[in-house]
Each structure stands twice: as C-alpha cells, then as structure tokens.
C-alpha cells in the first residue's frame, strides 16, 4: 500500500529553485533513504514532505492531499526530526519528548498520565530514562539527538521523516537508534523516510534509495543500483571504492590519489 506519494514537487525560495519536479512514492512499512551531496535538496525534500514550503506539486499521505488537512491532522500522520532543532532552555527531557503529544491534545489541555506513560516508554527504548529530569540543553550532542527522535516517536505517527538522524551519534547509539526504527517499521508498520550522509549505513537500513543532485532525482532503486562508483563520482565528486559484502554495499573512500587517477582514466576511457 502506498502511504506517501509526492507528485511533481518543487520548492523555490526567493527565485532559487531548491527542489525541481520531484516525484516519489513510499509503501507502508518501507524505509526510503534520500542521499546526495551537500546542497542537493535533501532537507528541503524532507521538509516539503512534512508539508513545509512547497511551491508546486502535490503531496498525498494515505491518499489524502496534505493541503486539505489541518496542521493537527497532518502531525498525527507525519512526524519530522529536523537536522538542527531549536533547543528550548530549561525544558526537561521528559517535557521535551512530551511535546510530541501536541497533535493528540486539546490546545487548552495538559498532558495526561497516559501521555506520560507513552513518553516514558520511549525514553526507555532510547536509553534516555536516566536523563529524563535533565534539561535538554545540558545533554551531549548524541543524547540530544535521541531526545529529538523521542519527541518524533511520541507523536505516534505512521510516517516518520528523519533528517540526518544519526550524524551526532556514536557507533553504538547509531546502531541502536537505527535498529529501533527498523523494529518500529516492521512491528508497527511505520513508514520511514530519512536523509543520510553515511552511504553504507543508508544502504544497509533502507530498502530503497533516492540519489538527489541539484534538486532533482539522479538515481533511484536498491542500494546495489544506486550506490555505484559512477554515481558517487558524478554527483559527490568523491573518489570511492564500492564493494559488496553479503547484504551490505560498502562505500569506502580511496586514500591513494594514484589509484584514483588510474580508475578515473579507465572509467572515462582515456
């Protein structure tokens, strides 16, 4: 079942086209990863999918046009983990995660004990229980990142948009968070769309990748199809070696420029 459908989505800010006629679909319980070099429009695309700043095109979630529903209804369907969130001062981690309950609460109502239970369960899952009473601004980068993911999970929305969810995390927590998201995807049928810098990781967890370059889709498909040396050379201007090991596609930068020059010559047929 198709959960997210974007058709001809463009985003322009002050005459600069950031995203040009992008169409994509995501099925229920799938993990779509958006990759691409800096400035390719990854964050813009994610934000647009959450309903922000679209100048042309149509976005549908569960066959409902995002334009036709209220902020509140949208936030019950989609949660968004921003890349650089604004951290409020003096707010405890528990209260921060509870912000995620906003779409389920009346504007004049306070959080209920069931909201607190939901938040506490998420804090447990994210290994944050011991930090629940700390204020968010005193957390380390990685702890903060998990708190933000916690806030998005508290929304209990079927669609999760994550902008670089693992950049600030150490290897162990990276794996923990991605595995937790993967479990949610499988058990609770959540649909995940994430942007990721780490190409190997993106390929490992996502079942489909979209390579964005210059605001448009340059390649699309499985990790094997998208993560090719040619694609990465063309769009990242990086010199990498791509190898397969079991299910994983490993993208490793080459150290030796000599080696790279010879590869380049072969690829370009000189």
């Amino acid at each position: 079942m198709t959960v997210v459908r974007a058709t001809g989505v463009s985003v322009a800010v002050k005459g600069y086209v950031l995203l040009d006629d992008v169409s994509l679909i995501a099925d229920e319980g799938s993990w779509l990863s958006i990759i691409g070099p800096n400035g390719a429009g990854k964050s813009t695309l994610l934000r647009a999918l959450a309903g922000g700043g679209v100048t042309a095109g149509k976005i549908e979630m569960f066959d409902r046009d995002l334009d036709g529903i209220s902020q509140r209804q949208r936030a019950q369907l989609v949660s968004w983990v921003p890349q650089s969130p604004i951290i409020p001062t003096g707010m405890s981690v528990l209260d921060y995660v509870l912000l995620g309950r906003t779409p389920h609460l009346h504007p004049l109502a306070n959080v209920s004990s069931s909201d607190v239970e939901i938040a506490q369960r998420i804090l447990d899952d994210l290994d944050l229980s011991s930090l629940a009473a700390r204020t968010v601004e005193t957390l380390s980068g990685g702890e903060r990142q998990r708190a933000i993911i916690g806030r998005a999970l508290a929304q209990e929305a079927p669609i999760l948009l994550l902008d670089e969810p693992t950049t600030a995390l150490d290897l162990g927590h990276q794996q923990d968070v991605l595995r937790l998201l993967d479990r949610l995807r499988l058990s609770a049928k959540r649909t995940i769309i994430s942007t990721m810098h780490d190409l190997t990781l993106a390929g490992q967890f996502a079942d489909r990748l979209i390579l964005l370059s210059g605001g448009a889709i340059a390649a699309e498909g499985s990790a094997v199809d998208v993560l090719t040396e040619q694609n990465i050379t063309d769009h990242y201007r990086a010199d990498v070696e791509v190898t397969r090991r079991g299910q994983s596609v490993l993208v490793v930068p080459r150290i030796d420029p000599q080696e790279s020059r010879s590869t380049e010559e072969t690829t370009h047929g000189h």
């Binding site: 019950q76 921003p82 604004i86």
Partner: protein, 345 residues
C-alpha cells in the same frame, strides 16, 4: 527517581496563596487612617460571609474598610494578576524575555485614548463606564490591532521581529499625537500626567466590577494555555510540524493578553514593570515551563501589586505616590539583577 512533567508543586501553591493572603491582610490593616487592626479584619470577614455581626468599628471606619480599602485591594489583586499574566503570555508568544504587556503599543494607545477623553472633557475618570476608561480601552486595543496589521503586512514568514518593530512605530506615532494634544491643552496636563503614572484610586466597587469579568475569563484561558506556550518555545517551524497552528494560536493568545492589558490599563492607567518582572521572578524561582509561569504569575503579580499599592498610599501620607513610581523603583534594580543572572546562565 522518576521524572515528572513540569507542574506546580503543592508547596509553591500553598506559598503563593500564603503570599497573597499576607499581602491582602497588610493592605487591609495599614492605611492613612488608623483603625484597629483586628476589628478591620473582622469587618472584612463580615463583608464576605453572609449574616451580620459587630466588628467593633464605628460607621465611618466601617465605611473606610468596606468602600475604600477592600475594593482597592481587590482592584490591585486583579490589575497585578492581569499585567503579570499578560506579560508572561507576551514573553511566550514572542519568545522574547524583554516583552511586556505594552510591547504592541497598548500603553501609547491607551494614553492617547485617555488624553482625548480628558482634553475634550468626555469624562472625569471616575464612575461606572466612564469615558476616560472607555477611551483608554479602545485606544489600547486599536493600537494592538494597528500594530498587528502593520507587522504582518506582506510578511509571509510571520516573523515576530517585524511585529515588535511595528509596535515601536505605532507607539511612537500614537505618543506623538498624544503629546501634541497634551501640549495644546496645558490646562489638562496634571490630569493627563496622573493617568500616565497610574493609580488604583477607587471609590467603591465600580472599577472592580468593570474589570473582574474580563479579567477572570482571560486569566482562566491563559492559565490553561501554558502547555501551548511551551510548544511555541521550539520555534515556529517545529511547532507547526508538531501540529500547532502557530499563526492562529499566536493571534488568539495576543488577543486575550491584550484584552486583559487594555481592561487593566483602562481602570488603573500605566503601571510599568509589573508585567516584566513578575514573570521573570517566577521563572527564576520555580522553573521555565509556562505551565508553571502563567498560573504562578497570577498569584505573585496579584500579591506584589497589593504590596506596591500599600507603599504608594502610605509612603507620603497624607499625599499619595503614583503606583507606577513604586513598581518602577523596585522594578528597575530588580530588572538589572535579572539581566545579570541570565547573562551568567
């Protein structure tokens, strides 16, 4: 230890109620006319509870307690609560610690309204629904509406900075007209000046009756909006993604806070600093969630203004000091202290 969501602790609540009671008792028993203190309190109890008993005061004293001190203390409670809560709301809505209830031009608009009414002899500032009060109320709301229209004109990003700048422009413009009117009618300067300095001079219950209904409804709504104000603290974009209609929420909260301020200004003139320092004091003492700041500001603001008014009417007996002087005298040094504390943190 399990973490709890931000909420008012029972001890704080008891402390806040205790503070208000102490302020009210002091406000009732101290005054230029010396009246037996126990009897005064008995008279207050007599006026509240049904039935009649002898408090031991003669008729003149009883009248001072019932129609001068009591309404004045109640008015101070209401105005103090109104200004503090409006200030807290503005600070949350604009995500700006320097915001006070006069941010969007309420003071200048109210001042212009009052000046017009005084200069054209539309009323004397006393009595039920007096024209000076009505004009101040209308002027105050008009200035907020004008600020809002100008600040959001052609501004798709809905930035609060443009609103604040529009507030400065509207305030300057209204102040210019007000000053012009004042200077061309020098006979009225004293009365205008008195209005600007603010005061809780009452004669009976008319001001309380005018202010109480609006104030109680607005205070109730704002007290319940603490969580929504907390959501605004992650910025407009994230708050929107969390399902809040940021634009609409901001308009509603500003309308409620401005109604509250305008009705307080209409009956008491301009009383500065209360709306700024009370919410900050509460934040420093109890925590930065608006679920704590708003309700605690109601109590602390109410008690604080009763105490300031006590100083205002006793410091220069038999003359009266404008209450704005007292709040600013305590407020200004305190404000510096807040700036220092936040700078260190």
């Amino acid at each position: 230890m399990t973490a709890r969501p931000a909420a008012i602790k029972l001890v704080w609540l008891i402390g806040a109620i205790g503070f208000v009671i102490v302020a009210v008792v002091l406000g009732m028993v101290i005054g230029p006319t010396s009246i037996d203190r126990t009897d005064t309190l008995l008279e207050v109890v007599d006026s509240i509870v049904p039935g009649d008993f002898d408090s031991g005061l003669d008729e003149r004293q009883a009248s001072i307690v019932r129609s001068l001190r009591l309404p004045r203390v109640v008015l101070a409670l209401l105005v103090g609560a109104a200004l503090s809560t409006a200030g807290a709301t503005y600070q949350g809505v604009f995500q700006n610690p320097l915001a006070d209830p006069y941010l969007l031009g309420v003071a200048a608009g109210g001042g212009l309204g009052a000046t017009v009414a005084i200069v054209y002899d539309l009323g004397d500032g006393k009595g039920f629904l007096d024209m000076v009060q009505i004009a101040a109320f209308i002027g105050a709301l008009l200035s907020v509406a004008l600020t809002w229209t100008m600040g959001t004109l052609g501004d798709r990003t809905r930035s609060t900075t443009s609103l604040i700048l529009a507030g400065v422009a509207v305030a300057s413009f209204f102040t210019a007209i007000q000053t012009f009117l004042q200077q061309s009618n020098t006979d009225d300067i004293r009365q205008i000046y008195n209005w600007f300095l603010g005061g809780l001079n009452t004669n009976g219950w008319t001001e309380v009756i005018q202010l109480a209904p609006i104030a109680i409804i607005c205070l109730g709504l704002l007290a319940m909006s603490g969580r929504t104000l907390d959501v605004l603290s992650v910025g407009d974009e994230e708050a929107t993604m969390l399902g809040l209609s940021v634009g609409r929420t901001r308009v509603l909260l500003v309308v409620i806070a401005s109604l509250l301020t305008a009705s307080a200004v209409a009956v008491s003139g301009l009383i500065s600093f209360v709306g700024l320092i009370v919410p900050h004091t509460v934040r420093l003492l109890f925590g930065s969630s608006f679920r704590i700041i708003v309700p605690m500001s109601i109590a602390v603001g109410a008690g604080f203004l009763v105490l300031c008014d006590l100083v205002a009417r006793t410091a220069l007996t038999p003359a009266e000091l404008p209450i704005g002087v007292v709040t600013a005298f305590f407020g200004a040094p305190f404000f510096v202290l807040i700036l220092r504390t936040t700078a260190r943190a």
